[in-house]
């Protein structure tokens, strides 16, 4: 059918399954799109493994303050109360809203942490070219968890909640809010600019 050295350059568009000759269609340093469905195949704006690692590490440092420190401080009739993400989960749990508590815990506490741990594991092993089991599984889990992180939506939620309460109470941003914004930015940057193609190629080379 097709000879082997041509087959080495073949790729399928993940979105429409068009068979593409990567040596013709994909140029490094340019945005390349699938000629049929216009899905992005390659984007020049990608972080190197090292920069990606620095990005995740920044996120990990600010993760704990973002989760535990108060995000909003709220004063009403002389009473001041503070709201942190963990506090939110505990309050939902205490008021027997287990389902909502579970969703908040999963999307804001668990997924961001597990994602960071997995990508740190994968990138450090690949950077030092250590042969390790579970690399492919970890990266696969990282990719499937990516859909379920909802840090960005929570920040919009903070804004809406603050406006809902602004008439009745004095609101003040807490330290946690700043940490949360840094966590959000580093996580968004890291996820958007991750060079998945390169990582998969390296995983293939370093086994399992």
């Amino acid at each position: 059918m097709l000879n082997t050295d041509k087959a080495a350059h073949l790729e399928a568009c993940p979105e429409c399954d068009l068979l593409i000759d990567a040596s013709e269609q994909v140029r490094e340093g340019y945005v390349s799109q699938c000629p049929r469905c216009l899905g992005v195949l390659e984007h020049p704006l990608r972080l190197s493994i090292k920069h990606n690692f620095i990005c995740v590490l920044t996120g990990l440092v600010f993760y704990f303050p973002a989760i535990f420190l108060p995000i909003l401080k709220f004063t009403m009739l002389g009473n001041t109360e503070a709201m942190s993400i963990v506090g939110c989960v505990l309050a939902l749990f205490a008021t027997t809203n287990y389902g909502i508590a579970g969703i908040v815990f999963f999307t804001l506490v668990l997924v961001p942490l597990v994602k960071m741990m997995l990508i740190i594991f994968v990138t450090t092993r690949l950077y030092y070219s250590v042969k390790t089991p579970f690399l492919a599984v970890s990266f696969r889990w990282y990719n499937s968890l990516s859909h379920w992180g909802m840090l960005d939506i929570f920040l919009l939620g903070v804004l809406v909640a603050a406006i809902k309460l602004a008439n009745d109470a004095e609101l003040e941003p807490g330290l946690g809010l700043y940490a949360f914004i840094i966590l959000l930015l580093s996580s968004a940057l890291q996820t958007q600019l991750l060079n998945k193609k390169l990582l998969w190629k390296l995983i293939e080379r370093h086994g399992q």
């Binding site: 399954d17 068009l18 469905c37 942190s84 939902l92 908040v104 999307t107 909640a161 293939e204």
Partner: protein, 207 residues
């Protein structure tokens, strides 16, 4: 180009859905040599599972919008809100831009998303060959925008978290909040289960 088969599948290759490796087709059940996942020509039962998740999401969407989503006790007054009445209340206190954001995230996005996904699934089922580009674009938007409907759930959680001790105010979460969260999760799963390559499977030529 003529009528040469275009898709990798028609030319004897499978594309791994999780790592996008191209694998020559051999045998019945295969595993991806790179990520060890089972590789199928197309996601098995993609259409049926998408339909099931989408329809259950749709049936929950109705009670989620009609039933109250939360009750707020504040300085001796009690307010029970549905999603829509909460938005109208935001407009009354002069916060129209925020009201519009909440309206888009909680009402418009889930509804349009379910309609768009239903149209995409129906078109695949009927093997329609026109507007494939448009449908692919629609699917990309549906996938991107789905998570943002969680906004209202987070707003309620934040309110519960703030007034947790109930000294000056308290918030009760009503059943519709949980229903609404289920709608968002079900429709997200419906979009994920759908294999976008099915949209293009009837197309054998392009210029």
């Amino acid at each position: 180009m003529g009528n040469r088969p275009l898709s990798a599948l028609q030319q004897g290759y499978l594309c791994c859905r999780s790592c996008h490796k191209l694998i020559p087709k051999a045998g019945q059940v295969m595993r991806c040599p790179r990520c060890r996942r089972k590789v199928y020509p197309r996601v098995p039962y993609s259409l049926a599972q998408s339909w099931a998740l989408l329809l259950s999401g749709f049936f929950l969407y109705i009670p989620a919008n009609v039933l109250p989503i939360m009750t707020l006790y504040k300085g001796g007054t009690i307010r029970t809100d549905t999603i829509m009445s909460g938005i109208i209340n935001l407009m009354h206190i002069g916060m129209t831009p925020i009201a519009i954001i909440v309206f888009i995230a909680s009402i418009l996005v889930p509804l349009l998303k379910m309609l768009a996904l239903a149209m995409i699934l129906l078109a695949v089922q009927c093997k329609r060959q026109c507007n494939v580009c448009l449908r692919t674009k629609m699917y990309r938007v549906v996938e991107f925008v789905g998570r943002w409907s969680m906004l209202d759930i987070f707003v309620i959680s934040i309110l519960v978290g703030i007034v947790k001790f109930g000294r000056v105010a308290s918030v009760d979460v009503e059943p519709a909040a949980w229903l609404f969260a289920c709608v968002v999760i079900l429709t997200m799963l419906a979009a994920m289960r759908f294999d976008s390559r099915l949209i293009w499977d009837e197309i054998n030529e392009y210029e």
